[in-house]
């Protein structure tokens, strides 16, 4: 599995996979180990959560060892369910399919009531997401499940395929930048290369799931929404003033700028030290945390009362004859 482990996301994903009955051979995150990574070639499927950072490794693994990769998204309930169903479909094992449905049903039952309450608070709220690692795409699923709209999304280090999907790749011409990265030449490993599924079946699977493929973020965004690459500070301010989102998701360097503007900013690089946000329980954690940030009464104190309340109180005074002499302050 090739993902990130922010706020324990990987542990939550692994928990679900183990519960269904999968054996997670190796996880390529900072908390992995040499031993596990050196066994990675024994896996039967490679799950790619972050399309930008690690797909090229997934491709090398496939070329060298014959392990296909599947683009997954464990952020958001529906995308988690879809990813789990794709995995079981790939393995095409009735037992796994059955367990997948059971686990989905069980996990959903645990969070349904809470999610319903969260939806009531979140519905209609507007979000801007500017965070890499496919998250600008992934979190839109979760926001839309909460009834929220993502009006602007973008990456800092995204490439065209992150936005437009991998079908643009053949049309891209190498430039100076692409030559910064050394081209590694990978060949089939004579000893360990093994086809996991037949080429025919793989072609079939590609029609129904993003296997060896990623279709990009744009496809999932509605008309009228905005995608912007490598947002700079000036643009951030312009967008926030124009859109007045309820939540702005990015990292710690923008966070306090945005909050100075009176808008809640949620870090999705570090999760504001919360999490996990992946999977079913993660959806609950995320919703709870962003609601806290959006509803905290502290936003209500930005304008001091002496800037918003009348400071002078008028009294009507009368002279002895009883004629009104005017307002005395």
């Amino acid at each position: 599995m090739q993902t990130y482990n922010i706020g324990g996301d990987e542990w939550e994903i692994t928990r679900i996979l183990n519960k269904i009955g999968y054996y997670v051979v190796s996880v390529m995150t900072g908390n992995s180990s040499y031993e596990k990574i050196s066994n990675a070639h024994t896996a039967d499927l490679n799950l790619v959560q972050c399309h930008r950072s690690i797909t090229y490794i997934a491709e090398m693994i496939e070329k060298k060892y014959g392990i296909p990769w599947l683009k997954v998204n464990f952020i958001g309930i529906n995308s988690t369910i879809e990813s789990l169903r794709n995995i079981s479909e790939y393995f095409n094992d009735e037992g796994l399919k059955k367990m997948t449905e059971e686990v989905i049903a069980e996990e959903l039952a645990n969070i349904e009531t809470q999610m319903q309450k969260f939806r009531e608070v979140c519905v209609g709220k507007k979000a801007i997401i500017f965070v890499g690692g496919s998250r600008a795409h992934h979190y839109q699923t979760l926001f839309s499940e909460l009834g929220m709209e993502t009006l602007v999304a973008g990456y800092e280090f995204g490439h065209r395929d992150d936005y437009e999907g991998r079908n643009v790749l053949p049309s891209l011409r190498p430039d100076a930048d692409s030559k910064n990265i050394e081209e590694l030449s990978i060949e089939k490993d004579v000893k360990f290369y093994r086809l996991r599924v037949s080429e025919d079946r793989l072609e079939q699977l590609k029609k129904i799931m993003p296997i060896d493929n990623y279709e990009g973020m744009i496809r999932d965004m509605d008309d009228g929404t905005i995608i912007i690459d490598d947002l700079n500070h000036y643009e951030t301010e312009v967008f926030i003033k124009a859109i007045k989102p309820d939540i702005f998701c990015s990292g710690v360097k923008d966070k306090y700028v945005v909050q100075k503007m009176g808008i809640y900013s949620k870090q999705l690089h570090s999760y504001d030290y919360g999490g996990p946000y992946a999977g079913f329980n993660g959806a609950v954690n995320f919703s709870r945390d962003i609601i806290m940030g959006m509803v905290t009464p502290t936003w209500g104190y930005i304008v001091p009362p002496w800037k918003s309340m009348p400071l002078l109180e008028g009294k009507i005074a009368y002279e002895t004859e009883g004629t009104e002499v005017g307002l005395k302050c």
């Binding site: 806290m292 509803v295 930005i302 002496w306």
Partner: protein, 452 residues
């Protein structure tokens, strides 16, 4: 720890277990120490005086000087008149204070000593003063005692009816750092004032290598007298300060304005708005920026405390604004208790917690056993109160933030404010600190966060 506190709450009458208050004279003595050159005098047995001095000295880690009428068995039978006459004579001869502030005790109150008549028969040296307040501890609490002594100051000293261009401030039973902070805010607004009493510079006097029985601080007699000429009196709190403000109105016609002790953003706003309304002065940029910094902190750290449940106990004029502040922070004050009697407390708190949609338990004249029982029935993330809360804190493994009186097991809190915008920042620092310390302590190795 407190193993015998039952979870089931039963009706109790005529029994208080672990009181959430102390004696009237403690408050009276503290108020009296806020007069410059004043020696508090306890009209009762020595043990009373010792206890009250000890309590104050432990809280402030400062001398709390006071004399006593030193009752014996004989006094209990024949009354304390001759003891008091002798005391006053000796005190002026030996310790030479400008003022003797007499508080009574349960014993002298039960005997029925008529302090007023005793004093009127005593020859008081020229330029010296003797004031007194009745402080029976079977009524009210140390807060009532504080209030009674403030009233005595007003009725004994305040004179005049000119509505001069200054205000009176009755700070209530708060630490000297808070009195300083309130003076700083008022001065920043460019407003002249008399603060009565003012314990700053008395119970936080610097160490100079030389002991001064009457340190530089404290409200001067001239100021107490001129308080009658003020335009208005701002009194912080309905329990410790309102009576003094009303007495000033009755005696000198000074308009009383009773507002909350300025703890937390809303109560500080209320204080500053009151100053603006009463004087027409504008709010200086310096204060507005302080407030802005506080709001910035509140928003940036909201996830440290938002939604956390708290139990708050202590003195009513502090607990009310602390509760309000917790609500401003998005916290849930679910148990709120004071040892001082007064239904106003319950009404005021209920109004706030009802508005926040909380079904909080609120009680005046309650005790810490009951608070403990509430916590057993509905656990909280945090306890806010004085040092006596540490037993519940230990028994239930819930962090305690020390705010209030007495704080006997920590230091420095009397030197740094909890009032004003800066004080509100300190409260966040305390709350975030204990909650995050707890999270760190309980985190498994892989969950320990470097940045929070």
């Amino acid at each position: 720890m407190l193993d015998h506190t039952p979870k089931r709450i039963t009706n109790r009458s005529a029994l208080v277990v672990n009181p959430a208050k102390t004696c009237q004279p403690v408050g009276a003595m503290y108020a009296a120490l806020g007069i410059h050159g004043c020696l508090p005098h306890s009209h009762g047995s020595q043990g009373c005086c010792s206890y009250h001095r000890m309590h104050l000295a432990r809280h402030f880690r400062e001398p709390a000087m006071a004399s006593t009428s030193s009752f014996t068995e004989g006094t209990a039978v024949f009354g304390g008149r001759s003891n008091l006459e002798e005391s006053v004579k000796n005190i002026f001869a030996i310790y030479d204070p400008d003022v003797i502030a007499i508080n009574t005790t349960c014993l002298s109150e039960t005997i029925g000593d008529d302090i007023s008549s005793i004093i009127s028969d005593i020859e008081i040296p020229e330029g010296k003063h003797v004031i007194f307040s009745n402080t029976p501890s079977y009524q009210g609490s140390h807060i009532t005692g504080f209030s009674n002594m403030v009233r005595a100051m007003v009725t004994s000293f305040a004179q005049g009816s000119a509505r001069d261009d200054f205000i009176n401030i009755i700070p209530g039973f708060i630490d000297p750092a808070d009195m300083r902070e309130i003076k700083r805010i008022t001065s920043l607004m460019g407003i002249h004032f008399v603060m009565l009493p003012d314990a700053s510079g008395v119970v936080d006097a610097p160490n100079t290598g030389r002991y001064e029985m009457y340190p530089k601080g404290g409200t001067r007699i001239e100021e107490l007298i001129r308080a009658g000429n003020a335009k208005v009196t701002i009194a912080f709190g309905w329990f410790a300060s309102a009576e003094g403000a009303y007495a000033l109105e009755r005696k000198c016609g000074v308009t009383p304005e009773i507002i909350q002790t300025p703890i937390g953003i809303e109560a500080t706003d209320e204080f500053i708005m009151q100053l603006v309304r009463m004087t027409g002065k504008s709010v200086p940029n310096e204060l507005e920026e302080e407030r802005g910094r506080l709001v910035d902190i509140m928003t940036d750290t909201h996830f440290h405390f938002h939604g956390k449940k708290a139990a708050v106990f202590g003195d009513p004029d502090i607990v009310i604004p602390v509760t309000q502040y917790l609500l401003s922070l998005g916290m849930k004050p679910v148990h709120i208790l004071t040892g001082t009697p007064g239904e106003y407390f319950v009404k005021k708190i209920k109004k706030m917690t009802d508005k926040a949609g909380l079904n909080s338990r609120v009680k005046a004249a309650g005790d810490l056993m009951e608070l403990h029982q509430w916590i057993k029935n509905e656990p909280v993330d945090l306890i806010i109160g004085n040092t006596y809360g540490k037993y519940i804190s230990k028994a239930e493994n819930i962090p305690l933030i020390r705010i209030g009186f007495p704080i006997l097991d920590r230091s420095v809190q009397t030197y740094l404010p909890i009032t004003g915008y800066v004080g509100a920042m300190r409260i966040i620092e305390k709350i975030s600190g204990v909650l995050l310390d707890r999270q760190d302590a309980e985190a498994s190795d892989e969950d320990l966060e470097l940045v929070m």
